[in-house]
C-alpha cells in the first residue's frame, strides 16, 4: 500500500518536472527565434546621385528643361536598395527646393515641363531606399527657351524640298508643252459612260462627296472630281444632285458646280438647290441618302471622298437600284466594301490622281509626275536599305525617322 502511494507521488513529480522542462525549452526557443527575427533598422542612406545636370530641352517650343544624373552607387549595385529618385527644384542654388516629380530606381533623366522661359532653375536629386534619403549637389542653372527649328525633323525638311523641287520641275515642263504620260484609270474612264447612261435613261445622277468636312484631303479630292462630273453632266444635260453632310462642303460644291456649268456653257442650267444639306449625323445622312436612292432610282452614283461605316449601306443600296456606281476613297477599311458593291473603285491614291487625270491640267499632271519621283526614291530606299541591313553594312532606317 505504501509503495503504491510513493509510486504515484513519483509519477506526479516526474510529470511536473517534464512540464517545467517543456515550458523552459519552449520559452528558450521563442527567445532565440525572436533574437533571430529582429532586423536591425537600416540607418545607412544610399549613395547620392552624382553629376546632376540640367539643360534646355532641345528641339521644342520652350517651357521645358531636361534634368540628367548618374545613378546612385546603390542602384543596381552596392547595397542595391534604391527605391526611387525625387526631383527638387529651386530658383536659387541655395534657395528652398520644392519637390516637382519622382522617378523609379534606374532612372537617369527627368523632363520638367512646368517652367517659365527665360528664368533660371536649379535642380537637386534626392535618392531614397524607402527609409533614408541622400541629396545630390545642385545642378548648374538651366533656362528654357523655344527653338526656331526642330533639327530632329531635318530629314522631313529635306524630303519636302526634294519633292517640292521635283513637282515644280515637272509642272514647268508640262507648262512648257512637254507631254506627260498618265496611265489609264478604269474608274475615271467610265465617268462619261455613266453620265451618258443617265442622260439616255432620263434619270438622275447622285454625287456623294463623303461625310467629312473641307479639312479632309479626301473631301477636297472628291469635290475636285465633282467639277469634272458636273461639267460632263452640264454638257449632256443630265440632272446631277449632290446631297451633303457638311455646310462647308455644300458651299464649296455649289461654287465648283457653278464653275463647271459655266465652263460647259450652261450657266443657266445650274441651280443652287442641286447641292443640298441633309444632316451632319453619319447614319442620319446614310438613311437620307438611301431613301433618295430608292425613290429616285438614279442611273449613276458617284461616291468620292472620305467614308466610314456608312460606305456599304450607301453602296449596297445604290447597287440594289441598278445604278452604275463609281466609288473612290483612301480609307483602307472602306475600300473593300466599295470593291464588293460598286462597278469601279478608285483605290487610295487613285482618288487624288483623279483630278489630274480628268482635267489633264499641266499643273496637276506635273504634280503627279513629281509625286512619282518621290515614290521612286522610296522604292530605291526600301531596296538599298534592306540589302545593306541584310549584309550588316549599315542601317539607313533612322534616316526616315519622323523625329
Amino acid at each position: 500500500m505504501k509503495s503504491s502511494k510513493s509510486k504515484s507521488l513519483k509519477e506526479k513529480l516526474s510529470l511536473i518536472v517534464l512540464i517545467l522542462l517543456f515550458n523552459f525549452i519552449l520559452l528558450f526557443s521563442i527567445a532565440i527565434a525572436q533574437e533571430e527575427l529582429i532586423v536591425p533598422k537600416d540607418t545607412i542612406p544610399p549613395a547620392s546621385p552624382t553629376n546632376v545636370g540640367a539643360f534646355d530641352t532641345p528641339n521644342d517650343r520652350g517651357r521645358s528643361i531636361t534634368i540628367t544624373w548618374e545613378k546612385s552607387k546603390d542602384d543596381g549595385t552596392g547595397a542595391n536598395d534604391v527605391k526611387g529618385y525625387e526631383i527638387l527644384r529651386a530658383t536659387e542654388a541655395d534657395g528652398e527646393y520644392e519637390l516637382i516629380g519622382s522617378s523609379a530606381s534606374g532612372a537617369q533623366k527627368f523632363t520638367d515641363n512646368n517652367v517659365t522661359d527665360g528664368k533660371e532653375y536649379f535642380y537637386k536629386i534626392n535618392v531614397t531606399d524607402g527609409i533614408n534619403y541622400s541629396l545630390s549637389f545642385p545642378s548648374l542653372p538651366a533656362m528654357s527657351k523655344a527653338q526656331w527649328f526642330n533639327l530632329s525633323r531635318l530629314n522631313i525638311f529635306v524630303f519636302v524640298v526634294v519633292l517640292s523641287f521635283a513637282i515644280l520641275y515637272f509642272i514647268n515642263r508640262a507648262k512648257a508643252g512637254k507631254k506627260l504620260y498618265i496611265r489609264k484609270i478604269a474608274g475615271l474612264e467610265a465617268v462619261d459612260d455613266a453620265v451618258g447612261r443617265a442622260t439616255e435613261m432620263g434619270r438622275k445622277i447622285f454625287y456623294i462627296p463623303g461625310i467629312s468636312d473641307m479639312d479632309n484631303m479626301q473631301t477636297i479630292a472628291g469635290v475636285t472630281i465633282l467639277g469634272r462630273v458636273a461639267k460632263v453632266a452640264a454638257e449632256y444635260e443630265a440632272r446631277l444632285e449632290v446631297p451633303v453632310s457638311r455646310s462647308m462642303v455644300m458651299v464649296t460644291c455649289r461654287e465648283v458646280m457653278k464653275g463647271a456649268y459655266t465652263d460647259a456653257g450652261r450657266p443657266d442650267a445650274f441651280n443652287e438647290d442641286l447641292v443640298y444639306y441633309l444632316t451632319d449625323d453619319q447614319f442620319g445622312y446614310a438613311a437620307a441618302v438611301d431613301g433618295l436612292f430608292v425613290r429616285e432610282k438614279p442611273a449613276a452614283i458617284f461616291l468620292q471622298g472620305q467614308f466610314y461605316a456608312e460606305s456599304l449601306i450607301l453602296a449596297e443600296t445604290g447597287n440594289s437600284v441598278g445604278a452604275i456606281q463609281i466609288a473612290g476613297t483612301a480609307a483602307p477599311a472602306q475600300i473593300p466594301f466599295f470593291i464588293a458593291a460598286c462597278d469601279y473603285t478608285l483605290i487610295g491614291e487613285e482618288l487624288f490622281a483623279a483630278s489630274a487625270y480628268l482635267s489633264k491640267d499641266p499643273k496637276l499632271l506635273g504634280s503627279l509626275k513629281g509625286q512619282d519621283v518621290g515614290k521612286f526614291i522610296f522604292l530605291a530606299a526600301i531596296v538599298i536599305g534592306a540589302i545593306l541591313l541584310s549584309l550588316g553594312v549599315y542601317d539607313i532606317s533612322p534616316l526616315f525617322s519622323a523625329g
Binding site: N216, L312, A402
Partner: protein, 225 residues
C-alpha cells in the same frame, strides 16, 4: 417576357423596327423614321456645334481679352488673355455669312480658299510622314534572319508587298512588261489585304446587329434573361 414601361425605350424600339423595315423595301413607316432621324439629328448638330464651337471656342476665348481691352485699353498683358487666332477664325466664319448677300457673296470664297489651302499644306507634311517616311522606315528589314524562318518569310512578304503595292500607284509609267507584272502582284497584295479587312469589318458589324437585337428582345421586350 416583361415589357418595359419606359416610354423612351418604346420609342427607340419602334424607331429601330422602322429603320429595319427598309430591308423589306421603301415604305411610309421607314419614311417617317428617316425624316424624324434627319430632322432631329440636324437640329441636334446645330445646337451641339453652336455650344461646342461658336460659344465654347469663339466667345469664351475672346470675351476675356475683349473685356480687358475695354476696361484697361491696349496693354502688354493683354497677350495673355487675347486669343487672336479665334478672332481670325471668327472673321473667316463671318465672311461665309456674306453669301446671304449676292452682291458681296464672292468674299466668302476667301474663307473656302483659306480652309482648302491650309488643309492641303498641312496634309502634305502629315501624309509624307505617315504614309511615306514611317512606311519606309518599317519596311527596311533584313532579307534573311539567321535561324528564324518565320521572321525571314514575314520580312520578305512585307518588303515585296510594299514594293509591289507602291509600284501599282505609279501613274506616269505604263503598267506593262516587268513593271506591269510587279504592279499586278501589288494589286494582289492589296486585294488580299482588303479581303482580310472586309471579314474583320463584317464581324464588327455583326456585333452592332447583336447590340440592336439585344435592345429589341432584351431591353425593350424583356425576352432575354
Amino acid at each position: 417576357m416583361h415589357l418595359t414601361p419606359d416610354i423612351g425605350i418604346w420609342i427607340g424600339g419602334l424607331l429601330t423596327l422602322g429603320i429595319f423595315s427598309f430591308l423589306y423595301g421603301d415604305n411610309p413607316y421607314y419614311k417617317f423614321c428617316e425624316a424624324l432621324f434627319i430632322g432631329v439629328s440636324a437640329g441636334h448638330w446645330f445646337v451641339t456645334l453652336f455650344w461646342t464651337v461658336f460659344v465654347a471656342k469663339m466667345i469664351r476665348n475672346v470675351e476675356i481679352g475683349l473685356n480687358t481691352f475695354i476696361t484697361q485699353g491696349f496693354s502688354a498683358g493683354m497677350a495673355d488673355y487675347m486669343h487672336w487666332s479665334y478672332i481670325f477664325g471668327g472673321i473667316l466664319g463671318f465672311l461665309m455669312l456674306l453669301r446671304l448677300f449676292p452682291k458681296i457673296g464672292w468674299i466668302s470664297r476667301w474663307s473656302l480658299a483659306f480652309v482648302v489651302g491650309t488643309t492641303s499644306g498641312y496634309y502634305f507634311i502629315t501624309y509624307l510622314v505617315s504614309n511615306g517616311l514611317r512606311q519606309i522606315q518599317r519596311t527596311i528589314l533584313p532579307l534573311y534572319v539567321h535561324g528564324d524562318f518565320y521572321t525571314t518569310i514575314g520580312n520578305l512578304i512585307i518588303i515585296v508587298g510594299t514594293f509591289c503595292g507602291l509600284t501599282y500607284f505609279f501613274f506616269s509609267k505604263e503598267h506593262k512588261g516587268t513593271f506591269g507584272g510587279l504592279a499586278r502582284l501589288g494589286i494582289w497584295f492589296l486585294m488580299i489585304t482588303f479581303g482580310a479587312s472586309f471579314g474583320y469589318t463584317v464581324m464588327s458589324r455583326m456585333s452592332l446587329l447583336i447590340g440592336r437585337m439585344d435592345y429589341i428582345f432584351g431591353t425593350w421586350l424583356g425576352m432575354l434573361g
